[in-house]
Amino acid sequence: VFEREVILDGSDIEDSLWELEMALLESDIAINVAEAIVESVKGELVGSRKKLGSNTGELVENALRSAIYKVMSANVFDLDEYIRDAKKPVHIVFIGINGTGKTTTISKMAKRLKDMNYSVVIAAGDTFRAGAIDQIAIHAERIGVKLIKHQEGGDPAAVVYDAVQHAKAHNVDVILSDTAGRMHTNVNLMAQLEKVCRVSSPDLIIFVDEAVAGNDAVERAQQFNAAVPIHGSILTKTDADSKGGAAISIAYITGKPILFLGMGQGYDDLKKFDPKWFVDQLFE
């Protein structure tokens, strides 16, 4: 039996691509990332063959789907395996813009690690924002993990250093260091962050951003990653914005994996990132 085929040209797929690009934008993928991905899909499809009678829209959607899957599954990094195999203590610093959910995510992570029978110490590295030390102290107490803190206004690098010393002296498995939220454009605060990371040389640096963020996600992920190279990101508040396209912007621009999703304000609302699940619900 003969299967007849046609060769796709740009005009065949233009409309489908445009519609999909708009859908991506509505899911909060930054426009330059959406364009770059759509462009690559176009390049791949134009000149390729399709079976006569097969649905072009479907073909385009599938190609886009796999392109996004590729972005989201590149450089997979399993934090659980890493912690299991690494020399202890493992030190993780959390960084990001103001109010994205760093402190809450650290609490969730502490609870998760504790449930896995690791010992955990938290460093109250946000010595700047009003009430920041109280906030993390309440979390630490509720979860039942040790907190190392200094006074408000103290040197964050010193707090983090102390937490690392504490962990070494007491055979603690994991140190989770909080840092103050800061704008990627604030030169002094970014320099301070570099110092925190230099002094304590963490094993991992995790960038925390929120699902409700739009195009700016690209800019800040890029600038944080440039200042203190990150190992991965966590996207919070996906319960408010289920599509979470910002995850794609961030993964694309940093080339680093998304590790977890924050899905609510409870301690158990932390979900390990699953690229397949993510792409499925994006195209739902």
Binding site: M22, L25, E26, S27, D28, A30, I31, N32, V33, A36, E39, S40, I97, N98, G99, T100, G101, F128, R129, A130, G131, A132, D134, Q135, I136, A137, I138, H139, R142, E152, M183, H184, T185, N186, E210, V212, A213, G214, N215, D216, A217, V218, E219, R220, K237, D239, A240, D241, G245, A246, I253, Q265
Partner: protein
């Protein structure tokens, strides 16, 4: 894969019009596409962008270029008018005795803005006072109390009592002698039914003169939907856009204003109590479009 540098796209787009003596359909289509892109990059709602760009295109083709203006200036003027018709008036919070309720998504900047507004009213010679109705976020009480203590602003809160509605009732009674009463509430989003319900109850008890929605300047496509939900629930009298000291353009907030037919009152440009500015539509639009001083361009006409 190559990516554009953020920001300059509209400026480049409009350069295309510099040489053009007459505006033809092809040039306009091309320029409008670039305008579309600039707005999308600034986080303006996708549907709103499509709507606006078809308006812009229609007007650019139909309207005569006024004498003394080149086609480029003409298109800028049309774009400006479309945007100003959305954000045009800034919400004016008067200097009189009143109650203000702060609402918004988690981490948007409500508590910080509460301290900024206190400072603002203080500087205008008024006597602000603050009630902490966030009984949900750990450390919310200490955060607000610390901020108020530093400013010498009277503060009411009940540290371990989860009953936000009762706290507001007692707090407003206790602080009665002050003239501007600001109620800070916990962060919430439209899908958290219990928290939305709590907000409605607080609103009923506080009966605020102004309900201010605090939106993160970087919020994306969710802005319209969230704003609509808050507006349906308690009504929004004004918007504060926070965190505009970074690189965010604030198009989400613009979309929220368009969706709820409200207006922007202030913008937040930093973490300290002094980092609050009155909203200026022209500056905001210039920033949104990534252009220099749009006002002087328009005024030239």
């Amino acid at each position: 894969m190559v990516m554009d540098k953020l920001g300059s796209s509209l400026q480049d787009a409009l350069k295309k019009l510099v040489g053009a003596g007459r505006i033809d359909e092809r040039t306009v289509t091309e320029v409008v596409k670039d305008i579309q892109r600039a707005l999308l990059q600034a986080d303006v709602n996708v549907k709103l962008v499509m709507q606006m760009s078809s308006h812009i295109k229609e007007r650019a083709l139909k309207e005569e270029v006024p004498p003394g203006m080149n086609p480029r200036e003409h298109v800028i003027k049309i774009v400006y008018h479309e945007l100003i018709s959305i954000v045009g008036r800034s919400a004016d919070i008067p200097l009189k005795p009143q109650t203000i309720m702060m609402i918004g998504l988690q981490g948007s900047g409500k508590t910080t803005t509460t301290s900024k507004l206190s400072r603002y009213f203080q500087r205008k010679g008024m006597k602000p006072a603050v009630v902490c109705a966030d009984t949900f976020r750990p450390g919310a009480y200490q955060q607000l109390k610390t901020l108020c203590d530093k400013l010498n602003v009277p503060f009411y809160g009940e540290e371990d009592n989860p009953d936000a509605v009762g706290i507001v009732e007692r707090g407003l009674a206790e602080l009665e002698k002050n003239d501007v009463l600001i109620v800070d509430t916990a962060g919430r989003h439209s899908l958290e039914a219990d928290l939305i319900d709590e907000m409605e109850q607080i609103h009923k008890v506080a009966q605020p003169d102004y309900t201010l929605l605090v939106l993160d300047g970087a919020i994306g496509q969710q802005a319209s939907e969230q704003a609509r939900a808050f507006n349906d629930s308690v009504g929004i009298s004004g918007v504060v856009i926070s965190k505009l000291d970074g690189t965010a353009k604030g198009g989400g907030a613009l979309s929220a204003v368009s969706e709820t037919n409200s207006a922007i009152a202030f913008i937040g440009v930093g973490e300290t109590p002094d980092d609050l500015e009155k909203f200026e539509p022209d500056r905001f639009i210039s920033r949104l479009l990534g252009m220099g001083d749009i006002k002087s361009l328009i005024e030239k006409a």
